[in-house]
Subunit: 681 residues, 2 copies
Amino acid sequence: MAASASSTFSQSLLSRAIPNHPATHNSALPPHSLSFLAAASSSRRRSTRSRSSCAVVRAAAVETLQKTDTELVEKSVNTIRFLAIDAVEKANSGHPGLPMGCAPMGHILYDEVMRYNPKNPYWFNRDRFVLSAGHGCMLQYALLHLAGYDAVKEEDLKQFRQWGSQTPGHPENFETPGVEVTTGPLGQGIANAVGLALAEKHLAARYNKPDAEIVDHYTYVILGDGCQMEGIANEACSLAGHWGLGKLIAFYDDNHISIDGDTEIAFTENVDARFEALGWHVIWVKNGNTGYDEIRAAIEEAKAVKDKPTMIKVTTTIGFGSPNKANSYSVHGAALGSKEVEATRQNLGWPFEPFHVPEDVKKHWSRHTPEGAALEAEWNAKFAEYSKKYPEEAAELKSITTGELPSGWESALKSTPEERNLRFGVREHGMGAICNGIALHSPGFIPYCATFFVFTDYMRGAMRISALSEAGVIYVMTHDSIGLGEDGPTHQPIEHIASFRAMPNIFMFRPADGNETAGAYKIAVESRKTPSVLALSRQKLPQLPGTSIEGVAKGGYVISDNSTGNKPDVILAGTGSELEIAAKAGDELRKEGKAVRVVSLVSWELYDKQSDEYKESVFPAGVTARVSIEAASTFGWQKFVGDKGKAIGIDKFGASAPAGKIYKEYGLTVEAVIEAAKSFF
Amino acid sequence: MAASASSTFSQSLLSRAIPNHPATHNSALPPHSLSFLAAASSSRRRSTRSRSSCAVVRAAAVETLQKTDTELVEKSVNTIRFLAIDAVEKANSGHPGLPMGCAPMGHILYDEVMRYNPKNPYWFNRDRFVLSAGHGCMLQYALLHLAGYDAVKEEDLKQFRQWGSQTPGHPENFETPGVEVTTGPLGQGIANAVGLALAEKHLAARYNKPDAEIVDHYTYVILGDGCQMEGIANEACSLAGHWGLGKLIAFYDDNHISIDGDTEIAFTENVDARFEALGWHVIWVKNGNTGYDEIRAAIEEAKAVKDKPTMIKVTTTIGFGSPNKANSYSVHGAALGSKEVEATRQNLGWPFEPFHVPEDVKKHWSRHTPEGAALEAEWNAKFAEYSKKYPEEAAELKSITTGELPSGWESALKSTPEERNLRFGVREHGMGAICNGIALHSPGFIPYCATFFVFTDYMRGAMRISALSEAGVIYVMTHDSIGLGEDGPTHQPIEHIASFRAMPNIFMFRPADGNETAGAYKIAVESRKTPSVLALSRQKLPQLPGTSIEGVAKGGYVISDNSTGNKPDVILAGTGSELEIAAKAGDELRKEGKAVRVVSLVSWELYDKQSDEYKESVFPAGVTARVSIEAASTFGWQKFVGDKGKAIGIDKFGASAPAGKIYKEYGLTVEAVIEAAKSFF
């Protein structure tokens, strides 16, 4: 790489994506997927082959809305209710109210509407379902159980919220196959769903042909009042309206009760009108408790609206069926108690043992296993046909659905990706959560998103879910220190690096130059179950002697050393833009005859994974003369400089002035490093 | 205190405020102000005294909308534009576009509408102004300059964005008297304004009498497209509509340009309709560039609507007057350049030197100094009269406006505060920023707000502004660890304690019991320029021998020790719920004859402030056998345990199971502490 490749490279990726302003955000769509790294060449040939035979199979399966005998439907709905009641009761912990109220829409979705294969939860073209109101997860577990998913057997329901179970307290994609994303923190799920629907729309536009609609699924989501109040939901839903996501169908569980009591106390806005203002189609189902046909009709209407997402407001009774607790906050987040469980059994005419699924209900749902297999087989056949006609597109799509990196992808690290950006406006939290949805849609999607580093504060909730749910989103965060200068302390990160170093399962990179930026991207792209944060400078940086892509993979490594026998007089450590300062200080000290080692600590998490032997080779225990420099909080640096070392950093807020002036006033200088080093001699 | 006073005490404060659910939030209003600590006794006597004489003075001042000669108005507006242009040009950094577009509304607000005293920016009953689009701060600096505020003289304008100036790159209340809150991170300002307006409404309801409207000001705010996109703005504006804040008037600078270019690319929702859905009155000023009378009429209409906040959408041209850059993103965030400055001078007919204020403009604005003094004098006279009639209320109000804590307030630490809660629903980010507004409205307001600790991720942007802008908000954060149990890893904080320890100017408390909780509250209440986070457990905790309010004030202190000569065999350190584990391990080790010291590290920031001598008395350098335990990331603990010590904590995500089970599986046990300690013997 050339001398200024760092900024050139990072800016070649970023210059389009990151305008010079604090609060604008961009994200690369899927294309910052594998295919951004591969050379895509798309063929537009058309085929006249008929697909009618497929359509027949589909109709026989679950595409059309089936109307089953109402009595059996009610029995199924009550089964869902009691599975939730019983599991919460056994755990003596959980939220029975939502499952009891949303059982009807849940039944219709999983039994009549959605296309999925319970024996392969990862079948690519499945409809996606997200329970944004994640506390009501027993609804989803009951549905997965009835539908025949292996992850949620009766024993799993009995282990609800227990150590090591596949039925944790909120839905977690990494624990329970069949759960698409991780929800619970309110508002995340609806934003994830926007990402999932966007991913479908993007892939459909890229790969569908007039004779082969190979990508074709809906995204369904249930959200409650809590989700509706969260700002992230408004951000994401504004974008969904803007993007015209016609295959996103959201059910708003309008039960008028939140944890505090009636929603009147804090939530009196007109939600319908707000969603219309956001560009959504809005339908109101007034009787969500027993109005099965109303719910079915609403879904049909929603599907007919192709150019807008739809919000179906379903008015329900929280805890429906509980004679003394329904429609009150007491049923929201606590077990009913044995007395009220019994009263509810009486009220709904439910004579069965806990966790019992009546035979006719079981039999009814059992068809989803063969039908799901048929749906997948049908799609596989269609894909085989597609592969013959469109081999390049098929290979691309396959790499996206499997997540295999194309061979030789590293060589693309210096190229400019294709222009496939999404513009999020000023909606960081929505952006992060939408990227999670994209990442979790298909293993081959590698979304990256970008904003100023300081505004990770606005999307930290979503970033934590990336880390927890193993969504390998790449966060390219610029303007990473006081080096941004005049915009001042509101825009200058101080504690942010430390805050991500403390977060589990996320790589916090602070590359010093072009080599290290490329090295960080390499790890970030390869790490599909660990998100990465790349903190990049605003200021231009030179290429430093000694940095390397290979070094970055170790997290910390020696970039220069004139000592012998692993016994330098002093070790100078730095990251990012301050590694240059450490290197210059090293040069000066060497002129005075000192043996100086300079170490880059670009990613502490990667360094922590190295062997003790390697660590001893970088920071020998016998060398306690150590100085670190980083334009950020010194919090945590004692780990490297040790009891006797000195950490140079910033433990107060920044200031508004030209960058060079702030560096000088804050003591982040070559002279300061030299002075600290000399204190050891 | 009794044995279980900790949880009892903290829960007496919290049980009402914090329902047992992840995502519901409450905040104590002002009353968790001084008066929550004082015994309030309000008199409702009425007076028949007339206030007509005051009304005359007021009319003579600036209450009514004055219509000045249009030519002079335009000259004043162009003065504002060129002060912004010239300052940005000189700094070669900044955002000229907004000031050029918003100068007309800015002029009308500061010259014709707002009531303030430029020589006393802290006069209590002033109208508040918030520039939510903080990047356009030169608009506000120009207005403060013209209005006669001492903080912004010509020299200050020339020092825009320079080291040590009072005109930093974004508005900062702690730098520039006349600036109410700190803005720049988009969306914060509008939420602050909701807090300011709410504070006014609350005080008016509490202290106004039929014969004495002693609290009576408006809150004005200018926000742009960026603010509108942020979720925090929707959260706060939904609450403003819910609360019916009739004296909140927001100007939406509708210029169709954001940093990326036309807002069409990412922001196509119907903002007017959304605000109507949120319960706001909406007015559209179609010509914000020269429609002075339209703007004036809109303000009059807004004032006439008493039961709803008003959004005045003002369509403007960004960079108005610049012949080649107006209405484009290029004028948003960069200096015009000398050539375009010259072209703009030509275009607007502006023959003056940079930074020049024409004499007639200067003369026109000069009246605000005497008029402002008259307004304050009038109010002071009114308050004197009020004090005679309503001495108790007057004393209370005075304590709120001055911020003096009533004597003996500490004795109230065990009492239950009066019921004066605000319910924020599920809107953390809005809640934090609204609390900032309340805190910065009057020095005596001490808002506290509460949610689950993990959801600080949702409001971190606002919490950072609390710290930066010296707003002493108290964040009472519960469910502070894996100890919350079944709700699982989405709800279990791991890295949060470390993330706040790394943040400047915020106290991160993790109290272990009732004594420490009281001690933390004491510091938090006293610290009016530093916000506090109190991380409290969900689980019940016993009162521990040796803890104390006085100990908390030192941040770290010895709670028990059986050593002599400051030479324990081992030091065990802990915080919060794990201090009990450390104490029990200490008891066991002492039974085996060891000399053990147990240290509480309840607030690292306070400990850092202690003398080296004190620190040596707690952690003698000679004792390197040290073990820490905290149910959180170990990041940063090496500072206390040193190179040879051991930190027990959690460096991965949590799990869904009963709390005790998780503690055991994660190795947070008495046995683990004993084993670690024994490794030193």
